[in-house]
Amino acid sequence: VAEVPVLNTRKCDGCGLCVGVCHLNALAIADNIVTIVETVECDWCADCEAVCPTGAISCPFEIILQEP
């Protein structure tokens, strides 16, 4: 399953700033709420998280240790 940013639709005010900054066009606003339209390509640049004024999008990292 492709990893995608975590959306908290309760916090989303539909401003659409995230849609504008996503360089993979993976986000859209539908019914005034952010939604993910393309899930395969997300490269975790986290620009959407950085510009969201309400904290509705987050890009959490899994921290793992590489086996020697």
């Binding site: 504008g20 959490p60 921290i63």
Partner: protein, 223 residues
């Protein structure tokens, strides 16, 4: 498209003005658009226009001699840039780049001077906006004691290593910033620095610790 009065009203510089005042200011403002990644202002260059973000987002940053970028702020609709060179006449201290398609409102330096002389409320608003910006920059300066932050970020990564049997909560850059007592922009730079030092690898949603020993050494630098 004509400059929208509704958008103008939301710009802090023009708050608490009546409609007649806004109308007179609107006549001095032009629209400008920029595409994603387009540079709008360049550090060190002179500037003749003040800009307001009408829609979209821009980033304000400085670039070091080695080409490293430090984001100072992300500007959303209503916020302005080029204020410093417009008001003090010197070169631009920062660069500004569109993070996506943006619509900007642009006013010439001389016209802004006339607005300040004719509308004292705008002058008061400008003082308030610039004072808030000084407060934000002082906070960023405090956070940029960079070597300390990088060791704190290293510690956070080591404390949150997850595995098949020991699942740890995932962390956003914002959460790491809160834990390290810094801001998101500084965490982003710290992660890049740790990657350059070969201690970690950023792989989409994963931070892979590739050299635990190196990360521990960085952590042990006084934090």
């Amino acid at each position: 498209m004509a400059v929208q009065l509704e958008l103008l009203k939301r710009i802090p510089y023009f708050s608490d003005l009546d409609l007649a005042e806004l109308e007179s200011i609107r006549k001095l403002i032009f629209e400008k658009t920029a595409d994603r990644a387009e540079m709008i202002s360049l550090e060190g260059e002179p500037a003749d226009d003040l800009y307001f973000v009408a829609s979209g987002v821009v980033k304000v940053f400085k670039t070091s001699a080695e080409g490293k970028e430090q984001i100072l702020s992300i500007l959303r609709p209503g916020e302005s840039f080029n204020d410093v060179p417009i008001f003090d006449g010197g070169p631009n201290p920062v660069s500004v780049q569109a993070m996506g398609p943006v619509l900007l409102y642009q006013i010439k330096r001389n016209d802004m001077g006339a607005v300040l002389r004719n509308h004292p409320q705008v002058a008061l608003n400008v003082i308030k906006v610039l004072a808030t910006r000084v407060r934000d920059l002082v906070s960023l300066v405090e956070n940029l004691s960079f070597r300390h932050v990088i060791s704190r970020v290293a510690r956070i990564l080591l404390e949150h290593i997850g595995g098949e049997t020991d699942r740890k909560p995932r962390l956003t850059q914002q959460e790491m910033a809160a834990m390290a007592g810094t801001v998101r922009e500084v965490v982003g730079r710290s992660l890049k620095a740790l990657e350059e030092e070969g201690a970690i690898k950023l792989d989409r949603h994963r931070i892979i610790i590739t050299d635990k020993g190196a990360l521990m050494k960085i952590m042990e630098v006084s934090s």
